[in-house]
Symmetry: C2
Subunit: 598 residues, 2 copies
Amino acid sequence: MRTSIATVSLSGSLTEKLTAAARAGFDGVEIFENDLLASPLTPEEVRARCADLGLTVDLYQPMRDIEAVPGDEFARNLRRARHKFELMRRLGADTVLVCSSVSPQAVDDDALAAEQLSRLADLARDSGIRVAYEALAWGRHVSTYDHAWRIVESAGHPALGTCLDSFHILSRGSDPKGIEDIPGEKIFFLQLADAPLLAMDVLQWSRHYRCFPGQGGFDVAGLVRHVLRTGYDGPLSLEVFNDVFRQAEAGPTAVDARRSLLVLQETVGRAALPEPVVPTGVAFAELVTPDAEPLTALLGALGFIRTARHRGKPVTLWEQGDARILVNTGPAVRRDGTQLAAIGLESPDPAAAARRAEALLAPVLPRRRAPEDAPLDAVAAPDGTELFFCATGRPDLPDWRADFEDTDPAPAPAAVRRIDHLALVQPWHHFDEAALFHRGVLGLHAQESVDVADPYGLLRSRAVTNADGSVRIALTVGAAPMDDTVHAQHIALATDDVVASARRFREAGGSLLPVPANYYDDLAARFEFADGELETYRDLGILYDRDAHGAFRHCYTRTVGRVFFELVQRDDGYRGYGAPNAPVRLAAQHAVRTLTGG
Amino acid sequence: MRTSIATVSLSGSLTEKLTAAARAGFDGVEIFENDLLASPLTPEEVRARCADLGLTVDLYQPMRDIEAVPGDEFARNLRRARHKFELMRRLGADTVLVCSSVSPQAVDDDALAAEQLSRLADLARDSGIRVAYEALAWGRHVSTYDHAWRIVESAGHPALGTCLDSFHILSRGSDPKGIEDIPGEKIFFLQLADAPLLAMDVLQWSRHYRCFPGQGGFDVAGLVRHVLRTGYDGPLSLEVFNDVFRQAEAGPTAVDARRSLLVLQETVGRAALPEPVVPTGVAFAELVTPDAEPLTALLGALGFIRTARHRGKPVTLWEQGDARILVNTGPAVRRDGTQLAAIGLESPDPAAAARRAEALLAPVLPRRRAPEDAPLDAVAAPDGTELFFCATGRPDLPDWRADFEDTDPAPAPAAVRRIDHLALVQPWHHFDEAALFHRGVLGLHAQESVDVADPYGLLRSRAVTNADGSVRIALTVGAAPMDDTVHAQHIALATDDVVASARRFREAGGSLLPVPANYYDDLAARFEFADGELETYRDLGILYDRDAHGAFRHCYTRTVGRVFFELVQRDDGYRGYGAPNAPVRLAAQHAVRTLTGG
């Protein structure tokens, strides 16, 4: 199917919008009137620009407050329409969106609405234009899609059809099944938007909180299935605007948008993408650093042993149980301090995983590898983290370990068993995009978003996981842009005995994040502990949480650059990440930073 | 009355919060439990810190999910309460807030709730503590203040009272008049918050959108009047949290908070502040600049004549009609480019205006003046703009003009008649504060906030005016922090003939902001114009708007530093500021900036 996007969905000047849409692979655009008005290009120039970029102009939008008005008002509206149809001719747009009226002048008279829309359609037909009439969820008299369709049907005009918008339909709670009663050829256009399920004024909801399909709570795919059953063969078009996208760069937003449509097309059986290949574990986490010393000292205290070095690059491998950390001191794209740069994901079929990622517009990373290296497929996540699809110790697949030569024997069975989860701070504009990426590209499941109070601002956090929890990634973002120097990425290491692991770490010279005594007084009030247990936690700075399944004990190292480590003990199927303790942890990290000036 | 603020209303560490509250002049604080948990200070140290700062600990909050639960659960709750009462003893807090339960375990049984709250109150009394029971708007079985009061009343326990929270009461649409049926001595605490009138989920509304009294849409003063009639003599306490305040600095937020309470106390007749002295006009606007040339060239082209220079400072006065612009090249606090630094407001009683501003916590500016200068009272607005209360040409008052010596004769009657309005870009965190400041301190009226789409982000704009429109200030802010280099402040100059003024400006070498031709095609579709009229507008870049009252024609100069000028013709009582044209103007300014690299 053809895909389209409304220019209002992207930020910038009209030409920036068109370029971003074309680069992301859209076939066409809806031109939002205000974007044209504010552009120095003539309509002819816009038309030529679109043609150069391979974009069709699928819709001109919107015309408002046209129908069911007194005669003199309607005469003025026709005059306005005449101007706009001439403009559309110059622009090369053959369909115009007419929204149901919100004017106080409009009357509740379907027959009058049908008659006036017919007269508008007469005028349109003379210019080779089709009129797509859409019910706004907050329309004065017409606010549901079936009502708009009844008016269109009774008008019976060949140049008059309806436009369906998933937001207006699903936000009203209308049953989209009735769409199947509309002949496909009378559905002149289909606009798609998702939205989080908020109980709020629908106009505000629409204006500020729309998002791309799959990023919100609506069953947009279900609606599209109903539309396709009618025989509709127009484009799937995105009309999405929210306060965040308005500030984001148009290029990444357009890619995000198109990815959401590809996933949607796959869901409704209209796109043949490579199957998702869900990762089955974390092969490694790669840290880049200009100075390996502080990092390797920390790894050593955590019980990691350096077991191998890369044959051709300044990268060492540190292991403990199934936790593997690469320390890279070579040139990297982002070399402004110590940070988590890449994640190796165990993949049952790395090449297929990469093919799916590429089909879903993930930037494929150049390999820049020596000829003898094992092939390693990698793409960039929206936050820039490199994701490697790889295999560890499987005879049927090239092993990334083969690029390393052993330096020390593998360590004895150790306290840290594996990487429990990775926490990645997301750029402010790309939080919803990140969740969709990890779901759509990697086939992970996205959990509910939770709010976390930092002393200096609210954070939102959302985890994506595979079915058995062997891959868990926590995505975090500020509720608004903020100084995020304290919001480091982190690697959580799973241990069966966090107390023993924390003690060993401290004995090895490691320094744990101090936790205020008041926190433990509160734990004592909320839970019952064995004798001495709480004193141990207090001594080590271990935090405690409990959910319906089990208990969670965790503690934190100091931060090196923009990375810190967490030791976690997850008992009896505890599912969370200790979110109730996050405010205490964040306050403690701020306090340490203030003390050390770091 | 005593005033108090919940620590959750301010950002930062607990000690930062306490310091900010004390500096703003609050008498006490509510200690939010999580703030204590995250603090490295012991309860005794917090108590001592409060005492040092002159703050009482008025409330410890909150205890949740206490009442109407099965016996074993309640036993655990009492155990928890015992810990907390001991903590409160150490903290020196004698009142605890208990919120109505949201637990799925809670049952709908008022008798059980009353009995269990009584048992809690028994325990509290033994520790010298009072229990204030509050209905959360989203409480499971108890969600209205009168229901909470009925339970408290039927318990009949001396250590059990109710806590009223204006948000929980007004967000539910409850009638606050019933508060008067509660004996004042049983109202143990009063929490105040305002909120914008949003139709949304009440929990989300409460968590993200509360604001200080007078900043939202609730009749908080009306509610307080009902409470005062009961004889309540506890503190007025602010419990306000929203996503913006969480990121703002605690110091200014605390001042903003206290100012809102002062205005509220005045409204309910419990504070004797100096009367507002509403400004009657704009005496001058003062621009500071490191280089006067570009600015004075612009002023000259606009028809201003330099009429005087300050006797002791490098400041010149430029006049045209009643519009007066000061150009200051001397040292100023903010010297990073050309900007609008100060506004002179005509005041019927400058000294009284300054007294009110000072009483409402506006920073009074040092005069730094020569001994012979006329006294000039000035305060700083929240955005740092200096506001001078002054008089022009009134024999009974010192005239600020007396500090200037004439250099050229006053200009002949000119096209520009006066300053129509001033547009000030606000720091992101202080938009609501700015409106409250201009209303409370200056006695201006705040109009509705409107959204304006900039190509790179949404803006919000709100005008404050006096009754006859001779003082109009438009306050603008980004919906989120953004690069605001293009969002300059501006001075709008009123003319009776914008076409003539624009022509004269251009003939004098001035450069007007070019407006796209598409905009005029749209005007032609929307309005009817006399022959040639639209061509004139198009030629000059004049924008057009119309409201129920009249028409508005306006055009813009290029930007110098962070300031530009607008020429406006306001006919037949047009009340707005051309907001529908703002997206086109902003896009044109972005385009110019891109072209010039400025």
